[in-house]
C-alpha cells in the first residue's frame, strides 16, 4: 500500500497508433502516488487507450511508461498484481452473484489469508451485504458500480485505474463513489480516473486535459482555472435576442454558451477592452443587458484548452 517513491506513474512521449490513426500522441505524465489524478477529455480523445497502455493491455507504439518504476511492456505481469482496473463497461459476470464475482477476482489475484473475511470486508465497505446472493445482471447501475469497485480493490491495489467509472450511475451514487475514492487515496492508493464530467474532474488532486490524443493542459483544477487563457464574461438579460450570434462573430471570442437567461462568453485574454467592446456591441443592437467579468470554471478551461490547440496547430 505504500509507494515510497513520490511518483507512481511516469510516461515519456507515450504514443499509440491504430493503423494511421494516432489515438495517443506523445503524452508525458508524472503522476504522484497517493493522489487522485484525472484525465478530462471528450469521448475518443485517447483517455481509455492511455489507461490500457498503463495496465499493460496495449503496447505503446512509441515512447515508454513506467508504473512503480516498472516498464509497462516488459514488467506488465508484475504491474498487474499491484493494480486494479475498472473498464468503462461493467465487466464482471452478470450471471454470477456478488460473492461469486468477488471470490473469482480474489482467486485471480491470488489473495492470501482469509479470503472470506476479505470479501466480507469489501461487502461492508461497498454496502453490498444485502446483495450477497444477487446476480450482478439484476442490479442497478449504482449497485453494479459499487460491486465493480469492490472487485477492482479486492486485492488492495496500489494503483487503481478507473475508466469513466460513473457514466452509468445517478448523482447520489456518484457522490458516494467519490467519497470512497478519497478514502482509498487516504489509504495510500494512487487513483487514475478518466472522466468527461467537469464536476468530477474538479475533485481530482491533479488533472490532465486531453484532446485528440494530446495533453493540452495540466495542473491542479484550481491552478488550471486561475491560469485560464481567457476572460469570462456573463451577460444577463440578452436571452431571446440575436446577441449570441453577434458575439460569436467577434474574432477574439472563443465561445458563447447559454446558461438559462445568462450568456457565458469566453474572450481572448489579450483583448484588454473586451468588456467595453461587448457593451458597445449590445447597445448598437438595442439589447439592454448587463455585462460582468466572472471567474473561470473548469469547463471554460476545457473549452479554451481544446480551442487553443485547434487554432494553434
Amino acid at each position: 500500500m505504500n509507494s515510497t517513491a513520490g511518483t507512481a506513474i511516469t510516461a515519456r512521449q507515450l504514443t499509440r497508433k491504430f493503423g494511421t490513426k494516432v489515438a495517443v500522441d506523445h503524452i508525458d505524465l508524472d503522476i504522484p502516488s497517493g493522489r487522485i489524478y484525472g484525465f478530462l477529455g471528450p469521448n475518443g480523445s485517447g483517455k481509455s487507450t492511455t489507461l490500457r497502455m498503463l495496465c499493460g493491455m496495449l503496447r505503446p507504439s512509441d515512447g515508454h511508461a513506467e508504473v512503480f518504476g516498472l516498464s509497462v511492456v516488459k514488467d506488465a505481469e508484475a504491474i498487474r498484481r499491484r493494480l486494479g482496473y475498472m473498464p468503462q463497461k461493467f465487466s464482471l459476470w452478470e450471471d454470477l452473484t456478488t460473492d461469486e464475482n468477488l471470490r473469482f477476482m480474489a482467486d485471480l489475484y491470488g489473495l492470501e489469508g482469509d479470503v472470506e473475511a476479505r470479501i466480507a470486508e469489501q461487502r461492508v465497505t461497498y454496502n453490498l451485504d444485502e446483495l450477497r446472493k444477487q446476480r450482478a445482471g439484476t442490479m442497478s447501475g449504482g449497485q453494479k458500480q459499487r460491486l465493480a469497485l469492490a472487485a477492482a480493490t479486492i486485492h488492495s491495489p496500489e494503483l487503481l485505474l478507473l475508466d469513466e467509472p460513473t457514466s452509468a450511475v445517478d448523482p447520489q451514487s456518484r457522490r458516494d463513489f467519490w467519497e470512497r475514492l478519497f478514502q482509498l487515496a487516504e489509504g495510500g492508493a494512487t487513483i487514475l480516473v478518466s472522466t468527461h464530467y467537469m464536476d468530477e474532474a474538479e475533485r481530482c488532486h491533479g488533472l490532465a486535459i486531453i484532446a485528440e490524443g494530446r495533453m493540452v493542459a495540466e495542473g491542479t483544477p484550481r491552478a488550471l482555472m486561475a491560469g485560464v487563457e481567457a476572460n469570462i464574461f456573463e451577460i444577463e438579460g440578452a436571452d431571446g435576442s440575436e446577441a449570441p450570434r453577434l458575439i460569436r462573430e467577434l474574432p477574439w471570442v472563443h465561445g458563447v454558451t447559454q446558461l438559462g437567461i445568462r450568456l457565458r462568453v469566453l474572450a481572448d485574454r489579450n483583448v484588454k477592452d473586451a468588456e467595453a467592446q461587448l457593451r458597445v456591441l449590445l447597445k448598437q443592437h438595442d439589447i439592454d443587458a448587463r455585462v460582468e467579468l466572472t471567474n473561470a470554471s473548469l469547463e471554460d478551461v476545457f473549452v479554451v484548452a481544446t480551442r487553443v490547440r485547434k487554432n494553434g496547430g
Partner: protein
C-alpha cells in the same frame, strides 16, 4: 517459489473452470442442450434415418395359388420387409394400385411357379418396384435373392452368396447385423461431440469478449493459457457425459452392442474431444460476436456430417470430398469408434486415426494460440 507460482496458476485455472460451470448451470437453455441434444439426435437419427426398409405396402398376385406359393408368400412376410396390404387376381388392379401409390411393391407369382422353380431357367417370380423411390430397388433385389422355400429348421442366412439347390439366388440383405442403428449410433457420438464442443466452446469464449469480461481479465494476472484451459475443461467433462448418454440410450433403445473395451472408447473420445475443442478455440479467434461464432461452427459442422462417412460411405465420394474429409476430425473418429464399438478393435489397431486427430489438435492449438495473443493487443 516455482511451487508457489504453480499453485497460484492452478488456483486461477480452477477459479475459471468453476465460474464456467456456474454460468453454464445457470444458462438453462445451454444446460438443457447438453443433455437434450444427444437425446434428441439419437432418437432422430436412430429412428428416422433408417436404411432398413420395413413394412413396405405390397400387393401380391398369386396366380399359382399352390401350397408352395403360399409358403413363399409367408416367407416374404416373415422378413417384415413387405407388408402385404392387398392381394389380387387381376393384373389391371395391380397396376392401378401401383400407379396410385397405394403400394410400393408388387409380387407376381406365375401360374407355373413350381415348374419354373424346378427348371431354374426362367424367373420364378416377378417383382415390380416403384422406381420413384430409389432405395426400393435394393429391396426388390433382396427379395429376388431370398432363399426360396427354405426347409424348416434352416435359419436365416447371415451373409455370403452360398448357392444351394432349389434356390434361385441366396443372399440375405436384411439380417439383424446390418441394422442402420448399429452403424449410426456409435458415429453419433462424434457428430454430437462436434456439435457441442465447437458450438459451445467458441460461443463461450466469444461471449466473454462480447460482454467485455475479457478486458477485465486481461488486466488481471490470469494468463491466456490459464483462461483457455480453465474455460475448456468443463467441456471435456460435458463431452464425456454426452458420450455416456449416447452409449446408454444406444444400448437400451437400439440394442447397439459395445464389442470393444469401454476404456479404449473413452480414451478415443477424450482425444476427439480435445481435437474438437481445438477447433472451437480456433473458431473463437475468428469470430467477433457469438452469432458469428455460431455461423462458423455451423460451417464446420455441415461438412463433418456429410463428408465424414457418418451418413454416406466414404468410399463413394469424389476425390475432392475425400480430401476435405481427411481434414475433418470426425472422419477419423468415425473409423475409430466403429472399430471399437462394432468390431472390438483396441487402440493400437486404430493408431493412424488417433495420430491424425492428435495432429489436428496440435495445428489448431498453435494457430489459436498465435491468433489469440494478437487479439489481446
Amino acid at each position: 517459489m516455482a511451487a508457489n507460482k504453480f499453485s497460484a496458476a492452478m488456483r486461477r485455472l480452477r477459479a475459471v473452470a468453476t465460474k464456467e460451470v456456474r454460468q453454464l448451470s445457470r444458462d438453462r437453455v445451454t444446460f438443457g442442450m447438453i443433455v437434450g441434444v444427444p437425446l434428441l439426435q439419437i432418437t432422430l437419427f436412430g429412428y428416422a434415418i433408417n436404411y432398413d426398409v420395413r413394412n413396405l405396402a405390397t400387393v401380391v398376385q398369386d396366380d399359382a395359388n399352390s401350397s408352395m406359393s403360399r409358403e413363399f408368400i409367408s416367407q416374404i412376410k416373415a422378413t417384415q420387409v413387405v407388408h402385404v396390404t392387398y392381394t389380387t387376381n387381376s393384373s389391371a388392379e395391380l397396376a392401378k394400385l401401383m400407379r396410385e401409390g397405394r403400394v410400393s411393391l408388387a409380387i407376381v407369382i406365375p401360374r407355373d411357379f413350381e415348374r419354373r422353380l424346378q427348371a431354374q431357367t426362367r424367373p420364378v417370380v416377378q417383382i415390380l418396384v416403384d422406381g420413384s423411390q430409389t432405395q426400393l430397388a435394393g429391396v426388390a433385389a433382396g427379395i429376388a435373392s431370398m432363399p426360396l422355400l427354405a426347409r424348416h429348421g434352416e435359419g436365416p442366412y447371415s451373409g455370403g452368396k452360398r448357392m444351394q439347390p432349389r434356390r434361385v439366388e441366396v443372399r440375405t440383405l436384411y439380417n439383424p447385423e446390418k441394422r442402420t442403428a448399429v452403424q449410426i449410433v456409435p458415429a453419433l457420438i462424434g457428430v454430437i461431440l462436434t456439435m457441442t464442443m465447437v458450438l459451445f466452446t467458441s460461443g463461450a469464449i466469444v461471449r466473454e469478449r462480447e460482454r467485455g469480461n475479457l478486458e477485465l481479465l486481461i488486466a488481471t494476472p490470469l494468463s491466456s493459457l490459464e483462461l483457455m484451459v480453465g474455460k475448456l475443461l468443463p467441456y471435456v467433462a460435458i463431452g464425456l457425459i454426452q458420450t455416456t448418454i449416447i452409449l446408454i440410450v444406444g444400448a437400451w433403445l437400439f440394442s447397439v452392442p459395445i464389442v470393444g473395451r469401454l476404456i479404449d472408447l473413452y480414451a478415443a473420445a477424450l482425444v476427439f474431444i480435445a481435437a474438437t475443442l481445438g477447433l472451437g478455440l480456433f473458431v473463437s479467434t475468428l469470430a467477433q460476436t457469438q452469432f458469428q461464432a455460431f455461423q462458423l461452427a455451423f460451417l464446420t459442422l455441415l461438412p463433418s456430417i456429410l463428408l465424414s462417412g457418418f451418413l454416406f460411405p466414404f468410399e463413394g465420394m469424389p476425390v475432392a470430398a475425400q480430401w476435405i474429409a481427411q481434414v475433418l476430425p470426425l472422419t477419423h473418429f468415425n473409423v475409430i469408434i466403429r472399430g471399437i464399438v462394432l468390431r472390438g478393435a483396441d487402440l493400437p489397431e486404430v493408431w493412424l486415426q488417433l495420430l491424425k486427430l492428435a495432429a489436428f489438435l496440435a495445428v489448431m492449438l498453435v494457430v489459436a494460440a498465435v491468433r489469440f495473443k494478437k487479439r489481446l493487443d
